[in-house]
């Protein structure tokens, strides 16, 4: 059985992935409209405050959610949920950087075994290093008994 405290000591709060983005207005509009969004700041690129919707920002966090040296826990990570804290509008055509670290690791025990829950946090900055948004991706892994 994996020692959660050891995992936390080894992996928490250490950036393991840095990605660069430039958001495309067309995709931002498609996502907002598909969700039923009607506000022009999310659906009209010519609006002076045109920006990405929270769901679109969360989509930037897809991809590698675990450090490359993170041990295998047996099961395939399932998407347990997403959260976002918005600090400032995330705009199209701007150079963005997303830095990801593990924010929390904890477990829950049930009748069918132990689940490991991992929170991967991406902090998104613009090219002035202004912190625009923070997304949390919650992963749930059912631990295999022989790990």
């Amino acid at each position: 059985m994996v020692d959660i405290e050891e995992l936390k000591a080894q992996f928490l709060h250490r950036d393991f992935d840095t990605r660069e983005f430039i958001l495309e207005p067309g995709k931002m509009v498609t996502v907002a409209q598909a969700c039923g969004e009607q506000q022009p700041e999310f659906t009209q690129p010519q609006h002076p405050d045109f920006q990405a919707s929270p769901a679109f920002i969360c989509s930037l966090a897809s991809g590698r959610h675990l450090p490359i040296d993170f041990p295998s826990l047996g099961g395939i990570p399932m998407d347990g949920g997403k959260a976002i804290t918005c600090h400032a509008p995330v705009k199209a055509g701007v150079n963005l950087v997303g830095k990801t670290h593990l924010h929390d690791i904890y477990d829950k025990k049930g009748r069918s075994g132990r689940m490991i829950l991992i929170v991967a946090r991406m902090e998104i900055y613009d090219d002035n290093n202004t912190h625009l948004a923070t997304t949390d991706s919650h992963m749930v892994i059912r631990e295999r008994s022989d790990t």
């Binding site: 995709k27 498609t30 996502v31 907002a32 598909a34 969700c35 039923g36 969004e37 009607q38 506000q39 999310f42 919707s53 929270p54 769901a55 679109f56 969360c58 989509s59 897809s62 998407d79 347990g80 949920g81 997403k82 959260a83 976002i84 804290t85 918005c86 949390d136 919650h138």
Partner: protein, 137 residues
């Protein structure tokens, strides 16, 4: 009732329900735009071959439905934080409905807390969450 400022909000009030478009055509368009194209989001038959009950609605699209519910209720609301739990998969072409209730109000800062749920046609909760939104004071 139209909500324009924090003073229009009542503790315990329910937001107008929202029925989003969960058609496969719409959910696959979303998936494609965020780079998640593929059978599990775009084709029922291909999703079933992967062992799924049908094509899925992307989880973050559920979050998008919740944020649209908030903006439809109060167009001037700014979402500061939203936290969603993907309790179980949502299937494309299965209608769903979103409900929300006001659980806290701070009239000095304009902050409102909401509890939100997304239920499928069998009245099962598939996504739930909380949001903190800021309204004009």
């Amino acid at each position: 009732m139209s909500i324009t400022t924090i003073h229009d909000v009542e503790f315990g009030a329910e937001l107008p329900t929202f029925v989003p478009d969960t058609s496969l055509a719409n959910t696959s368009q979303f998936a494609h735009a965020v780079g998640w194209g593929g059978g599990r989001f775009e084709d029922h038959e291909r999703a079933r071959k992967e062992g799924l009950p049908g094509a899925l609605v992307p989880g973050i699209m559920g979050m998008g439905f919740l944020t649209s519910t908030i903006h439809n209720w109060c167009p001037a609301a700014t979402i500061e934080h939203i936290d969603t739990v993907f309790r179980a998969p949502m299937l494309a072409d299965d209608p769903c409905i979103i409900g929300a209730v006001v659980t806290d109000i701070d009239e000095d800062t304009g902050l409102v807390e909401l509890d939100m749920t997304l239920k499928n046609s069998a009245d099962e909760t598939r996504v739930f969450g909380t949001a903190r939104v800021k309204l004009p004071v």
